[in-house]
Symmetry: C2
Subunit: 368 residues, 2 copies
Amino acid sequence: MIIRAQKTELQRAIRTVMSAIPGKTTMDILTCILIDATVDQIKFTATDTELGIETVVSGEIDERGLICIDAKLFSDIVSKLPSSEVTITTDSNLQIRITCENTELRIVGKDGTEFASLPSIDRENPVVMSQFALREMIEQTIFSIAVNDANKLMTGALLETNENEIRMVCLDGHRIAIRRMKLDEVVPTFKVIIPGKTLSDLQKIMSGEEEDKVHIYFTKNEVLFDLEGTIVVSRLIEGTYFRIDQMLSNDFDTKITVRKADLAASVSRAMLFTSESEKRPLVVSIADRDMNLKINSPARGSMSDDIQITKDGKDLMIGFNPKFVADALNVIRDDEITIYFLNSKSPCFIRDEQQSYVYLILPVNFVA
Amino acid sequence: MIIRAQKTELQRAIRTVMSAIPGKTTMDILTCILIDATVDQIKFTATDTELGIETVVSGEIDERGLICIDAKLFSDIVSKLPSSEVTITTDSNLQIRITCENTELRIVGKDGTEFASLPSIDRENPVVMSQFALREMIEQTIFSIAVNDANKLMTGALLETNENEIRMVCLDGHRIAIRRMKLDEVVPTFKVIIPGKTLSDLQKIMSGEEEDKVHIYFTKNEVLFDLEGTIVVSRLIEGTYFRIDQMLSNDFDTKITVRKADLAASVSRAMLFTSESEKRPLVVSIADRDMNLKINSPARGSMSDDIQITKDGKDLMIGFNPKFVADALNVIRDDEITIYFLNSKSPCFIRDEQQSYVYLILPVNFVA
C-alpha cells in the first residue's frame, strides 16, 4: 500500500476515529486504526466492538492495500511531523514507512484483514437534522444518565420520534432530563436506547454548524450516524425504557422565576459544603420576593444566600442535592428560568413554556 | 478582626501565597493562610517551613486581628463569590464570617498566634534585577536540576555574583545548564545554593515585566526575594557546590550551526522511540552540510532524519539522550544555535558567542 495525504488531514482523521479506541482491552487489534485503501477511497476505521467510527481521508492512493496501525503511536508520530504531505508505505511484512520532507519513520503494523469490519446497515428512511442541533440535544441531557451500570437502561439515552418531533431523555433515578426539537419533516416513528458513550463520542466529532447535517438510520439492534464523510455505528441497548410521561406533571402549587446566573452562582458556592463522603442538602426557602438557600456542613462550614425571585402560589421549603440543580442550570441557555413545585416531597420541574426542555429533580429530606 | 477587600485582590493574594502550602503535611497549621491585620496592613502568609511567602493585600481594616484559615477552602470560597467587595469577620471563638453582596459563608479558623512567623532578615546590600530577567534565568536552567534528592546539592541551583555579573547553574550529573546576565551595577560577591522548589515557586509569582524589580538579600542560611508587596523567604542548601568551571572547555574539533526549529522537531520525534523503561540513544552523524539523526527501538520502531547544517572541523558520530537535547532547545530563544563537539566520548556544548547561555550535555554509548 502507498498512500499520500496532508499531515493536517491525517490528524483530523485520527482524532475523529480515536474515540472509538478502547482505553483498556486485551484485544491488541482494537488499539489499532485500520487504514483501508483497497478501493477508491482512503478510509480510517476504529472500533471497540460496541461502537465503530469510520472516516474518509482526502489523499491519493498510489498502490492499493490495507494495514492496521497502533492508534496511539500513529497519532503521536503524525503530530510530530512537519506540516506537509505525508507518504505511508507498507510492504508484505507489515513494515510501515512514514515519510515527510526529510524525516523517515518505520513502525510495524498488523494484518488489516484481521480487523472486524463495521456492520453494514441499510440506508433507508433517515432522520435528518443539523449536527449542531443533535449536539445540543446530547449536551443538554447526557449529564443525567447513570454513571454506574447497575441498571443498564439508565446508562443510555432514549431517542424517539413522533411525527415531526424528536426527543432525547436521560435519567438516573434521581432526575430526568428531556430535550425536544422540531424536525423539518414528518419522519418514521422509532424509539431506541443509545449507549451514553456513543453519544458522548458523537458529540466530540460533530461540527458545531447549523448547515452540516447528520443522517440517522436505525435497524433493530444498531444505529448509524452519517456525518458526511464520517460514519458512527453503534449497538443499541436492548429493553423497554422507563415510562417517562407518567412521571411528568403540569400541576404546581409554587412557581418561581429567577435569573439563572444568580441561582447558578449560589448553587456552585453551596457545592463547597457537600461532598461524596459528606452529602448535605441545599435547603431552599421560597417567600414572596426572595428565595433563601442554606447549606450546612459540620466539617466544613455553612452558607446562606438570598436571591431575588418572582413567585406565584404558596411559600415553600424544600431540599435538593445541589449538584443536580447545578448540572441542569449549566446547560440551559435562557437567562431567566422558571421552576415549578408541588410540595416538599414532590419533584420540581425546571422547564420553558414550550417544554423544549424539562429537568425533573427529586427533592431530598432535610432537617429544618 | 474585620477586614474588607475586593474579590479579585483576595484571589491574587491567595494565588501568590498558595504555592508555599505543602501538598502533604501532618501539621494542620501549614495548610492554612495566616491573615494578619494586627498593624496597618493586611498581610497573607503561607509557609512550608523551608519556604515562606507573604503578600500585602489592598483593603481596609475595620478591626485589627489575625486568624489562620484553611487555604484550599478559602481559595475555593473566594473564587465562587460575586466580583465585589468581600468582608471577613472573625470572633473570639475563631468563627469566620465571609460576606459579599447577598451571600454569607461561615467557616472555622485556627488560632493565628500559632502560626510560625517568617524569619526576619536584615535588608542590606541587595542585588537588584528585573523580575523578567530573573524569571528567564530560572526558566532557562531549572530543568537541569536533579529530580530525586540522592545528592541534595543537585536539587538546588547555584546563584553567584562576580562584579556586575550574576549567573545561575543547575546540573544533574548528565548535563549542566548555565545562564549569565549583566547587572546594572557592581554588587557584593556571593555564592549560594537555592532549593529548586523555591525557584519554581518564585517563577510562578514574578511578573513578566522588565520594569518590575526584585531585590535579593542574603544571610548565611537564608535568601529573601522582595517583589514589591510580596516577599519570598527560603532556606538555602548547605554545602559546597560542584566546581563547574573545570568541567567547561572552549576546545572543539567539530562545530555546527543549525536552525533550532529543525533540530527541535527532529528530536521531539525521536523521543517517541525512547522511554524510561526502554532507553534508546539518539545517534547523530555529522557530515559536511547535513546531519543525520537516527533512533531505533526494537519495540516501537525507528526514525531517520536529515537536517541541513553548516559545519567547521571534523565529521563526527555521537549518541545522546534526546530528552536532554530537547530540554535545552526548548528554552533557547535564538533561531540559530551553535553546538561544539570534541569527540564521541566528550560532552557537547550548546552556547552562544557571549556565553550568556551554556548547555553541556554528556554523550551516551551507542552501537553504530
